[in-house]
Symmetry: C2
Subunit: 255 residues, 2 copies
């Protein structure tokens, strides 16, 4: 079983050498810029760790894991646009529309989404791409709730953050061709991850849940979500040690 | 064989009753607005007519044809944005970002793209979605050349306009499961359509090719493209009468 850091290196290497559609031409430069901004690659690492826990070589799950990271990247590029969050910086660098202009950023986001689908379609079964697209539509629904100022924070985050985390596990299940009848415990685990990530995110940024519940209660909710995630993992008949480690690091993270 | 108008009614009916992903919530309203702006539905009609010429019921090609129209619609919504073409009107109505705001328009475009992929993934074979995504990436590459002010008008239109026209035929081939070895004459026909459409478009709008070649020469080029398209159709061993009629109406259109 490979450690999270090894899986992350695998993802980084794959993304660095990723072939993009030729017909995108120089638009590729802005896409690679958006993709190379660092980040913890939590979603693809979760996907690879799940694949390995199931007994599927992580390498086989790499296109699916990368597809998920591309969807995440596309969502950030569009989310940062002036009409949406109007963020000039992303992870300490100019955001894509600042660096490349707004028109290019809109097209780069579109093309990242398209490349993600292309990667997911590299598998023989369309189930992988179906998992990706269902999650993406949910995530977009969450972005819509966000700009509309929805009062339902739980539903907003279940969609905006949660759907891609859930897909990290779901994509691994589909790549490994785990029959639907055997997916339930994995998917139950997956459902806890988005909330856990979001709660800790809000603790670090002092917003979202913290503004509603306060720091102490939000920390308590995060610990509970982590405990539920670990409990769900414990019901799965597989070596989930690396996934346990990832959950522990998610709740303890400081950046 | 159904006439182009009957096929168009089929498309309109299908689009009107189209189920969109539940999790998109009220974002669906802006997507339906963008989709319902009329237009001639040339791409999906071409797709259905090709399916029927091959001997595949047009109804079976409807999800693929609609997927293509959704990609076209997504591209218009993003193309009309202030950062790109900054068009306040589309077919005599306020464009999507004027009607719903810029943030919603960006997300509506993203979600239309996603729904298009979802429709293409409703087929058992991933080949349909692969055809769609390859064409979409080419189209985005064309939009990029357009905003960058590429000097190569032919390459720009081969991508920006041509790729979705080519896909109208390619999607029908994949839905009907025509083996690759038998696709060549159909794809040769498909290659002529985008140029033909663009030349006539520029004649109607007095821009693009007309600015480079003048009206008379552009009309001549359009007639030549139509003649080549008809000649390619003549090499195909199938009842292509409806496709011949569509080509004739493309070159003679006045709106």
């Amino acid at each position: 079983m490979r450690a999270p850091d090894e899986l992350r290196s695998l993802v980084e290497g794959y993304l660095l050498s990723l072939d993009l559609s030729d017909e995108l031409g120089d638009l590729q430069d802005s896409m690679r810029y958006a993709l190379s901004g660092g980040g913890k690659r939590i979603r693809p690492v979760l996907c690879l760790a799940t694949a390995e826990a199931i007994g599927c070589p992580p390498e086989r799950a790499l296109p699916a894991a990368a597809a998920l990271e591309l969807v995440h990247s596309f969502s950030l590029v569009h989310d940062d646009l002036p009409a949406l969050d109007d963020d000039a910086e992303r992870r300490g660098r100019p955001s894509t529309h600042i660096q490349w202009g707004e028109a290019v950023a809109i097209l780069a986001g579109d093309a990242l989404f398209g490349e993600a689908v292309r990667l997911a379609l590299s598998y023989p079964s369309p189930a992988v791409a179906r998992e990706l697209i269902t999650a993406t539509q949910g995530m977009i629904g969450g972005q819509y709730l966000d700009i509309k100022g929805s009062g339902d924070l739980t539903e907003l985050h279940r969609l905006k953050t949660g759907r891609l985390f859930t897909a990290a596990i779901g994509l691994a299940l589909e790549v490994a061709e785990v029959p639907t009848s055997a997916q339930a415990p994995w998917r139950a685990f997956a459902e806890e991850l988005g909330l856990l990530f979001q709660l800790v995110d809000d603790l670090l940024d002092r917003d979202g849940y913290v503004l509603v519940h306060g720091v102490e209660e939000t920390r308590h909710l995060a610990d509970e979500a982590a405990a539920r995630a670990q409990a769900k993992l414990a019901t799965i008949d597989a070596d989930t040690s690396v996934l346990q480690e990832i959950v522990a690091s998610l709740v303890a993270r400081t950046s």
